[in-house]
């Protein structure tokens, strides 16, 4: 049983790593997509922006796909429940996400203003909407979600999808997520573009960093006053993974700060988030682009671990049937499965990081509009 508990905790941490990788890499591309119409005033500039992430967006997007697959395998019940409970929002996310690969490949292949303009709008929607949904998902989960299970493990929904779309706290988290992605995308555009795009990207990235920091602070105050979830029954971390028949759970105002009160060192996580956003914004004002990019990644890591620590061990609390809340203890895969998955993650994640870095190294340097226009392989 001890090994099983360790595996559960390791996979909870890996879930955080995965969500951070997704946010940094996909968020960067989404930020560029959102900014496309504003950073690029001419067709040549827009093509330049697209070709800056052109060689990388496809690989980056796999973080999103791997996110789906890894949650499916390591947290089957969480995957089954969250994706269905948020159905309408998830489908909107999918609709916007699937526009993007097609937009990349097809936009510049036809030389007509209307055609390209339409795809540029597709980039805006498919960049901004997924990031808002991504942040809003964290917001909704923090507030608790309405669902319960029958004895077979089939979930039933207790709330309308409107409560997830029109939830002010979730919308605020969504805007913060979008702001961070604009920061990350803008910073990457600075790394690879020349004036006048460089200056515009710098302006938007600065705004993104400041907005994110302000909303992160506001979110912290909000969470301190909102309802959190705590166990009141006897908790057995090594329990069989099922949401049925778990310990009693109570709803208490401010309970999401309990972990921080118990272990003050954990305040480092939100501190890291703030450092990333504020120092990062200063760094890009000083044209320290590489440092600013990495501080953006630190900001994401800080933000996501802040949420994870606040909720631990809860993953998705049920507001209508709290004792059936999904936690790290009751919604993972079996020990055997988590073991095999860990083996594959340990072997392949370093390999993935190595060839991804190599791909960025090969494509390093500034991308100029005239070169894009003359390259038959460009987007």
């Amino acid at each position: 049983m001890e090994i099983y508990v360790a595996l559960k905790i390791i996979w909870a941490v890996l879930l955080g790593v995965l969500l951070t990788g997704l946010a940094v890499m996909v968020g960067m591309d989404m930020g560029v997509g959102t900014l496309l119409r504003f950073v690029g005033k001419t067709d040549a500039e827009r093509r330049t922006a697209l070709n800056i992430i052109g060689p990388h967006w496809d690989g980056n997007q796999v973080w999103f796909i791997l996110g789906g697959g890894a949650i499916f395998a390591a947290f089957p019940t969480l995957y089954a429940t969250s994706f269905s409970v948020f159905y309408v929002v998830m489908i909107l996310l999918l609709f916007s996400m699937i526009m993007r690969p097609v937009a990349f490949e097809y936009r510049s292949k036809v030389d007509a203003k209307n055609w390209r303009d339409t795809w540029d709008w597709a980039f805006l929607i498919s960049g901004a909407l997924p990031m808002i949904v991504y942040g809003a998902a964290f917001g909704n989960v923090l507030e608790g979600v309405g669902f319960h299970y029958s004895w077979t493990g089939q979930y039933y929904q207790d709330e309308s999808f409107l409560s997830y779309l029109l939830n002010p706290f979730a919308v605020m988290c969504g805007v913060m997520s979008l702001a961070l992605s604009i920061y990350q995308g803008g910073t990457f555009l600075m790394l690879r573009s020349v004036e006048p795009m460089y200056g515009r990207a710098r302006l938007f990235a600065t705004c993104g960093g400041i907005v994110a920091a302000v909303l992160f602070a506001a979110g912290g105050v909000w969470v301190a006053h909102m309802n959190g979830y705590v166990f009141t029954g006897v908790v057995n971390p090594g329990m069989a993974a099922t949401p049925l028949g778990g310990p009693a759970v109570a709803v208490q105002q401010g309970a999401w700060l309990n972990n921080y009160h118990s272990y003050p060192i954990l305040w480092l996580a939100p501190a890291l988030g703030f450092v990333g956003m504020i120092v990062g914004t200063l760094a890009l004002r000083l044209h320290l682009k590489v440092l600013a990019w990495w501080l953006g990644a630190v900001a994401w890591a800080g933000t996501i671990s802040t949420v994870g620590i606040a909720m631990f061990p809860f993953l998705m609390p049920s507001s209508t049937n709290p004792s059936q809340s999904l936690t790290v203890w009751n919604s993972t895969g079996s020990a055997y499965n988590l073991g095999w998955m860990l083996f594959f993650a340990v072997v392949f994640v370093p390999i993935i990081l190595a060839y991804t870095s190599w791909a960025f190294y090969v494509m390093r340097g500034k991308v100029r509009p005239e070169a894009v226009a003359n390259d038959p392989h460009s987007y």
Partner: protein, 540 residues
């Protein structure tokens, strides 16, 4: 436990079928073209001839148009299990999700990262370096297919997991059994090589168009030679592995093989005919028309002359004890879920292997409650449930036949084309060239019908023998389903229109379009575009 609204189940199935079939319009071509691109580029690196570089870049461009939409529609698939098949995901996620996650880690990351370098790295990588990148894309896309089909293999013949009554789901217990499931392995090779056939036909068909219009002759002739030989070998391999799959189905999915062959009654003699054409009627459970070849069926399916092949009516009757046991298993399991007592656990374990048939019977139970069946109600329930244990025979029979007839047509077409290509007589046979052109979509269609055979033939199960499809869906309301279906239909229709438009446009332009590709950007507002004579050098 109330069942999910049957309309929602049907709409969920419709949506999954549409999105999967649509995704699979693009996958076979990706699988095949990556391998062919690697072969062309290898020839270029070895011989140094420019025409092979042109071939790699031109077919690579068409590959890119196809690849983008394959990636886009693949996103839907990875998430749709969770959004629409919640019970399925909960029930088998512990074993089914694992190959999907490994696919991302091992294959899709590699394919997607290197595809960027394949398109953008021509001037930044050495010749062997770029060749290695192309090979990694080909390897990645085919490894993707391997892990996806291992997951599918689990639905077809569940291996490597067992049911755990404490977590109410199937749990992973043998990596080796999951990965080396014979069904998964045979289907992987069958499916990915079917992709090679699609790639070969695509290249052969478009090249035939160039010969017909008298353009790019050397380019087209070389492309056809490579494609026809590669296509012939691949098609023969696909047919051979299809035969192996049929034999596997005979062993592990008897209802599917009987439906494929339109077989209502068990064969008893070697002269049983193999039906070329038949009109299976699912209502009367008989065939209203049969034209067959005697002595073929038994050796074809069983690889022997005297083994009987069970017919559907007999399979239905044989399921009766399993249904009765299954009802006991589910009732004991429900009892155990609240009391956790040893007695109901023992009862459950006694009938555990038939629990799927209990789930299947729930639909026909009075008030959908298996606990309250009176002896008087039992015969009707059994009769209905027995009929529910077989797939739709008409659909399975005909989708299989369309796939197979197309397969034999491909063997003939590739053989004839390879022959004339080696004799350098292609241009004389204009009718044949036209046939090649019109056959471009045929291998993709064959793959689609293969998928329908495999998945429609698996019904009524989502996980064969363990979880009926109608139990596997998410409990949405009809409005949600209409919203998502309409959205997918609209978006996917727009995509295919744009895809076909660009494919035709760039195929018509031909390989020379490379040299003029910069012209496609000339309408931009930047003054840079107006300046002629920039060296055709990329990036800086």
């Amino acid at each position: 436990m109330p069942l999910i609204d049957p309309t929602v189940v049907d709409l969920s199935r419709l949506q999954f079928a549409l999105t999967a079939l649509y995704h699979f319009l693009f996958v076979p071509l990706t699988l095949g073209l990556t391998i062919l691109l690697a072969a062309m580029e290898t020839t270029y690196v070895i011989t140094g001839k420019q025409v092979y570089k042109d071939m790699t870049q031109f077919w690579g461009k068409l590959f890119g148009i196809n690849f983008a939409i394959g990636v886009a529609t693949g996103l839907t698939m990875e998430f749709e299990f969770g959004t629409n098949w919640s019970m399925f995901s909960h029930y088998v996620g512990d074993v089914f999700g694992t190959p999907l996650a490994i696919e991302g880690l091992m294959a899709f990351f590699m394919e997607s990262t290197f595809v960027g370098l394949m398109f953008f790295g021509w001037d930044r990588l050495s010749k062997p370096g770029h060749l290695a990148v192309t090979y990694l894309v080909a390897l990645g896309s085919n490894l993707s297919a391997l892990w996806i089909l291992i997951a599918n293999g689990f639905m077809q013949s569940p291996a490597g997991a067992s049911f755990n009554p404490d977590t109410m789901r199937m749990q992973f217990n043998s990596f080796v059994d999951l990965v080396f499931s014979p069904d998964a392995q045979a289907k992987f090779v069958h499916t990915s090589i079917a992709g090679f056939v699609a790639g070969a036909m695509f290249i052969m068909g478009i090249s035939a168009y160039y010969l017909l219009t008298g353009r790019h002759k050397e380019f087209a002739a070389r492309s056809i030679r490579m494609a026809s030989v590669f296509g012939l070998i691949s098609t023969l391999a696909v047919v051979t592995l299809g035969d192996a799959l049929g034999r596997l189905d005979y062993l592990v999915q008897p209802t599917k093989i009987a439906a494929i062959e339109g077989l209502w009654n068990t064969t008893t003699s070697p002269e049983a005919p193999w039906l070329l054409i038949a009109l299976p009627n699912d209502k009367t459970q008989s065939n209203s028309l049969e034209i067959g070849i005697p002595y073929v069926l038994t050796p074809l399916v069983t690889h022997s002359f005297n083994a009987p092949i069970p017919g559907l009516l007999d399979l239905e009757a044989a399921s009766q004890p399993r249904i009765l046991n299954g009802i006991k298993a589910i009732n004991a399991l429900q009892q155990y879920s609240t009391t956790h007592d040893a007695a109901s656990l023992a009862t459950f374990q006694q009938y555990e292997n038939d629990m799927g048939y209990g789930f299947l019977a729930q639909k026909n139970a009075p008030n959908q409650d298996l606990n309250a069946i009176t002896p008087g109600e039992m015969p009707a329930l059994l009769q209905q449930t027995e009929r529910d244990t077989i797939p739709n025979v008409f659909v399975t029979f005909w989708s299989f036949r369309i796939m197979m007839f197309l397969g034999f047509y491909f063997v003939a077409l590739f053989a004839v084309m390879a022959y004339f290509s080696l004799k350098n007589q292609l241009e004389r046979h204009t009718l044949l060239l036209k046939l090649c052109m019109w056959s471009i979509p045929a291998p993709v269609l064959a793959s689609e019908f293969g998928w329908i055979t495999a998945e429609a033939g698996r019904q009524p199960w989502s996980v064969y023998g363990w979880l009926p499809t109608f139990q596997a869906a998410s409990s949405h309301n009809v409005g949600y389903m209409i919203f998502s279906l309409v959205g997918f239909a609209l978006l996917y229709s727009l995509f295919i229109a744009a895809e076909l438009y660009l494919m035709f446009k760039f195929a018509r332009l031909g390989p020379e379009s490379h040299d003029h590709a910069a012209a496609s950007g000339k309408g931009g507002t930047s003054p840079m575009f107006a300046k002629p004579g920039f060296a055709a050098k990329s990036w800086e």
